[in-house]
């Protein structure tokens, strides 16, 4: 079996790494090339870069950031944020992304998933989903940094997206993001049961125990961000703890 992955994530705004809580209150957390190289060195299995720029000028940096990071990275690189067309996807892939993540544009127009998968392959088509708990049970897809609730059921959406060709799900719990209270394990279990493609757990990690819980709930990979950027821990110490707990991660 492929080993469970630990994936550092860089939220990038206008070419700088930032981190906020629940997509708000962004703080500067460094240079993406330096950070990506550091996390690769620490044993990160892949790097995810999500462009969170609010302006078109800011988003204009995404391609440059991708090619600069590619130069130093000999592990896979996924780039998302603002991908609205196959042209956007192509620009990022040509710059050196190995996978592109689509999020709100796919909610607006699900065919985009199929178009990207058709042209570049399912293995590089990632669906990013921001999921918020509903009061009456289940989860719904949210967009616009959690400001817009779409009413779309998350479990249904991931099934539709994988049928269209998405090869991986990057599943962020909006309720847990940046809170360091652990991943939403019910959400992970529900989504992992709904699809056969790998699911990446995101939102809420604080400890190696949280990562282990996500993997046990069915995730193939665990995304981490703020605990790395804030120097709370390193990829290598998280992986050491996971190995000691019996998870066969790549050492």
């Amino acid at each position: 079996m492929a080993a469970p992955r630990v994936i550092p994530c860089l939220d990038v705004d206008a070419g700088r790494v930032v981190k906020g809580v629940r997509f708000q209150g962004l703080r500067d957390a460094g240079d993406p090339v330096t950070q990506a190289a550091l996390y690769q060195e620490q044993g990160g299995d892949e790097i995810v870069i999500l462009d969170v720029s609010a302006t078109p000028e800011g988003r204009g940096h995404a391609v440059d950031t991708t090619s600069s990071v590619r130069e130093v990275l000999s592990i896979p690189l996924t780039v998302g944020g603002g991908v609205r067309s196959t042209d956007d996807a192509q620009a990022l892939l040509e710059a050196g992304a190995d996978k592109v993540a689509v999020n709100s544009a796919a909610v607006d127009r699900p065919e985009l998933i199929g178009e990207i998968a058709q042209q570049f392959g399912s293995q590089c088509t990632v669906l990013a989903v921001d999921a918020a708990r509903r009061e009456n049970g289940g989860w719904e897809v949210v967009v616009n940094g959690g400001r817009t609730r779409t009413g779309i059921d998350v479990e249904q959406w991931v099934r539709v997206a994988t049928d269209l060709g998405a090869g991986e799900i990057l599943l962020t719990s909006w309720d847990r993001d940046g809170t360091r209270s652990g991943y939403d394990l019910d959400l992970l279990a529900a989504v992992s049961c709904s699809v056969r493609v790998p699911v990446i757990a995101s939102g809420g990690a604080d400890t190696a125990e949280h990562l282990g819980q996500a993997l046990e709930a069915g995730a193939s990979a665990a995304l981490i961000a703020s605990i790395l950027h804030d120097g709370v821990t390193t990829v290598s110490s998280l992986k050491k703890e996971l190995l000691a707990s019996g998870f066969e991660v790549r050492p």
Binding site: A2, E71, S74, I75, L77, G96, G121, Q123
Partner: protein, 203 residues
Amino acid sequence: MSADVVIVPTGLANTASIVAAFRRLGAETRLAERADEISDAGAVVMPGVGAFGAAVERIDAAGWREPLTERIADGRPTLAVCLGLQLLFDESEESPGASGLGVIPGTATRLPDNVTVPQLGWNRVAVDTESRFVEPGWAYFANSYRVESVPEGWEGTTADHGGAFVSTIERGDVLACQFHPELSGTWGSDLLRRWLDGTRGGS
């Protein structure tokens, strides 16, 4: 001979990663445009990603089938990555009816239903026989299809995802990897270096 590595642009998605990986090793790369560039090149990389049928169409439309088949059959320095490995065979369940290069008899089949598909992630490569290039270690895979056993006349290594499958095959200066050496960290970079160094002067 040329120190250049000529890349056969069968698809787009991982070309930049391949280029960057060779650049870090100090090797220049260029994309093939004409068939004779593939025949004449000291070293050729076939970085296939995407669908089997689409890659075959591209190869045939560009007239690359013959120079590729020839250099692989002759054991000249050629590196096939991911789908590139599967393209050496007759066909794939992914695209029924599409003819692979057919240098090796056999069919690429879909990974079984009891594991995540695509396989996206790091997996252990086991080296049970002699290999000029491959050492045991962790490699990064991104595949939904695979070849189930090492073909006759080739040396090979395996990995396991719902059962053993072929992770590399080699013969002469031809090396085909189901994983992505360009994305397999230091281990992958060392593998690329051994292939480059080991095959230099081979043409």
